[in-house]
């Protein structure tokens, strides 16, 4: 197994999902499949003006790296890119990008899905709502379904 190219970035700046996907697909003639997932800030029907993402510097990088490395031991990956933003984001802004490249489709699909499910429950990020009416909103509550989705991969 060749060592996959892993890129992990935690940053306040917007990311260019298209350029990241393109870079993965250009890694060589053995790339047969690239799966990407982008999570966006939503307005929730106009209720929200923005989301503010707080993170635990250092631990965020380490947890995401450990999830990506685990994915690369479970599936035969040629590359994986994970970018997670922090700071204030408005509806339509990308919050997180997970992209994986492999020779065959199942590896890239499953690895990307696994990374997202694990990242949701393990990466130290917290979302605070800013309401459209100008008031400060609540901290988003974690969902039990996210724990269940991550648990699935242990089967």
């Amino acid at each position: 197994m060749t060592t996959p190219r892993l890129i992990i970035r935690i940053q306040p700046e917007p990311f260019d999902a298209a350029a990241e996907i393109e870079a993965l697909s250009r890694m060589g003639d053995d790339v047969g499949a690239v799966t990407s997932f982008t999570g966006y800030c939503r307005s929730e029907g106009g209720r929200l003006a923005a989301l503010e993402l707080e993170h635990y510097p250092g631990m965020a990088e380490e947890e995401i790296a450990s999830v990506v490395v685990e994915a690369s031991t479970r599936w035969s990956l040629l590359g994986a890119t994970v970018i997670h933003r922090h700071g204030k984001m408005v509806p339509g802004d990308g919050i997180v990008l997970v992209a994986t490249a492999s020779s065959h489709r199942t590896a890239s699909f499953d690895a990307a899905h696994f990374i997202m499910d694990y990242l949701k429950t393990r990466a130290p990020f917290w979302k605070k709502e800013h309401r459209a009416d100008g008031t400060s909103g609540d901290w988003v509550e974690a969902k039990a379904v996210d724990d269940a989705l991550a648990e699935r991969w242990k089967a």
Partner: protein
Amino acid sequence: MWSISMREIKLVYFAWVRERVGLSEERVSVPDEVLTVADLAGWLQTRGEEYAYAFENPAIVRAALDRKHVKPDALIAGASEIAFFPPMTGG
């Protein structure tokens, strides 16, 4: 009479735990009988109403020792940084 031995530990707080405590980090001297993460949360609760509020439902506050997720029964000995935060909502 017996003397209490203390250790100094760096504590960091995130999200609504940080807001309730009113600090993002602090250095505290922790009594030796505080052995686990759960002990530490219980001891912090006694330090004032901000802490009582932050840890009012200790079951939902998560912890990390030196940036690794741990369970409430984890021993804190040797850790140089202990973090408390709500369940994560990234992604």
